[in-house]
Symmetry: C2
Subunit: 284 residues, 2 copies
DNA sequence: ACCCATTTGTAATTTAGCTACATTTAAATG
DNA sequence: CATTTAAATGTAGCTAAATTACAAATGGGT
């Protein structure tokens, strides 16, 4: 798929001259796509047809076609460097890497999320009398974010990042209660128990978590996404982002389902916030 | 940035023939990048130089360069339809659109963030005796997230999403205190006052906020990013994501600065969490 | 209706990329 | 170790694609 990866993978299969071409391209891909075949050949110290043959070996029609493919690999966030942060990285380097890997994670989440499940979850949320958001650790921020979002919809919402409070909340759950649980791994024992407890008390449970995890199995609906977690970091990064975007998706589905009159209400909430702000034109 | 959007936006500015070209391209962008200038001219029923002029009007060097830009726009899921959610959208449609616009927002943030400023902020954070994270509204979730992240570093951290608590915290600030403020607009009056108060009490203030905003001016260091907020939504979405990634960047810079022994400590924190999880192999 | 500015097309020029063939290099076999 | 043969690389010529310069046409404004 990715042309850069493809080149790197085939490095061994290339001939000596072709490898020279590969190295020149890998050294600075963005430069390469601006070069003509002649300049690139000169840079790699090979002949033009060698460059052309190199392109063909990568299943492209020729040099221009190869550049097109390469350009796509370089587009929008697709990192052309290994996206793991190295201890020698400059501020610019790790900043870019983290942004790029975050985008890649969202792309992966997007590709693996099931719109059908989103639809069911939105259904459930729109029919809820009351919505609670639970998250522990890194996911607690996501739960807070969800509370903030759904609070604007003028329905009873609550949010807990504490197991005991979650428990108490579950015990008081009713038929119309919907509980949304955020967990990257879906293996946090406490949360799995919470999910079970909630269902025993007839609440509906939506889990935003890993596929086929213990938590997913305990939920009424499991919104699952594949997020490549950068395990080198010892900190969950990408998963919270994906969960937050999932919240955005659910919130958006919610407003769409509620219709235009409801969106007017949202507008009023936003207007109400304006007073607390400095005017954009005024220079304080 | 995005070439497709650029074409659509400039449709009105184009001349009659140029618009013909634009329409042919928009009708099937993937096809266009495979065409030569001659075939594209024929398809649009214009002359070749007209196509060339069209390309130049979009700030490209010529037709081949334009194709490169177009190819990038088409890459990795970047939608070549407008990414605003419509009320008629299916679950799949709005899910994709939200993920895509989130990625685009991060890309924009990445391009406008200043690594030099990140570096300064990391410097400041590593020298802090104590770090506090403040955020109101949608940014409160970001502040919580930051607290969670920096808590793992085993330094005194706190987090407030309440103006009164922020005030009290500022009054108790000392030389070594670093306060990180999150605000998308940078115009929330309360937060600007907090920043001033903090500085009056000799705390160092890092603002993750909008460029040239009142808040940015009150801070010791302002980490600013351009994030195209989808104002149709009446809810901040993209900005929180960008802020969270900024937190990741700062946290990463922090660990890198602290060196390898420090990272060992992080590993231990992670190991400690394992006990509270279901084993991946065990099927409960 | 005429003039000027803008737009569009034609034809020529330039440049880039590709093909066919020659040369070199390396490998394999007697 | 020599010789043959296949693979790899380069050279030169050719084709097609893109650009430039200029001319024709269109359209607004006086």
């Amino acid at each position: 798929m990715n042309t850069i990866d493809k080149i790197q993978k085939n490095l061994a299969n290339f001939s000596k001259s072709e490898r020279k071409v590969a190295e020149v391209i890998l050294a600075d891909p963005p430069l390469s796509i601006q070069c003509s075949i002649a300049t690139l050949a000169k840079m790699a110290d090979v002949s033009e047809p060698t460059v052309n043959r190199f392109c063909r070996r990568l299943d492209t029609k020729g040099f221009p076609d190869f550049k097109l493919h390469l350009a796509q690999s370089l587009a929008n966030g697709t990192p052309y460097v290994s996206r793991h942060v190295e201890s020698s990285d400059s501020a610019e380097a790790y900043t870019n890497k983290i942004f790029e890997s975050s985008m890649a994670a969202l792309d992966s989440a997007k590709q693996t999320i099931d719109a059908q499940v989103i639809n069911q979850a939105v259904d459930m949320l729109t029919q809820a009398d009351q919505i609670s958001f639970f998250g522990l650790g890194a996911s607690s921020a996501v739960a807070h974010d969800a509370e903030n979002k759904f609070f604007r919809f003028n329905i009873p919402v609550s949010c807990f990042d504490d197991v005991l409070m979650m428990r108490m909340s579950c015990i008081n759950a009713r038929e119309g209660s919907v509980i949304v649980l955020f967990s990257h791994t879906g293996r946090t024992k406490a949360l799995v128990e919470i999910a079970r407890l909630a269902r025993e008390n007839h609440a509906q449970v939506i889990g935003v978590t890993a596929k086929d995890s213990p938590l997913a199995r305990e939920c009424t609906i499991a919104v699952t996404m594949d997020v490549p977690e950068d395990t080198d970091q010892y900190m969950p990064m990408a998963s919270r982002l994906a969960q937050m975007v999932a919240v955005d998706v659910l919130a958006t589905g919610f407003t769409l389902r509620r219709g235009p009159r409801f969106r007017e209400n949202l507008k009023r909430v936003k207007e109400a916030l304006k007073e607390s702000r400095f005017d954009k034109s005024a220079q304080p």
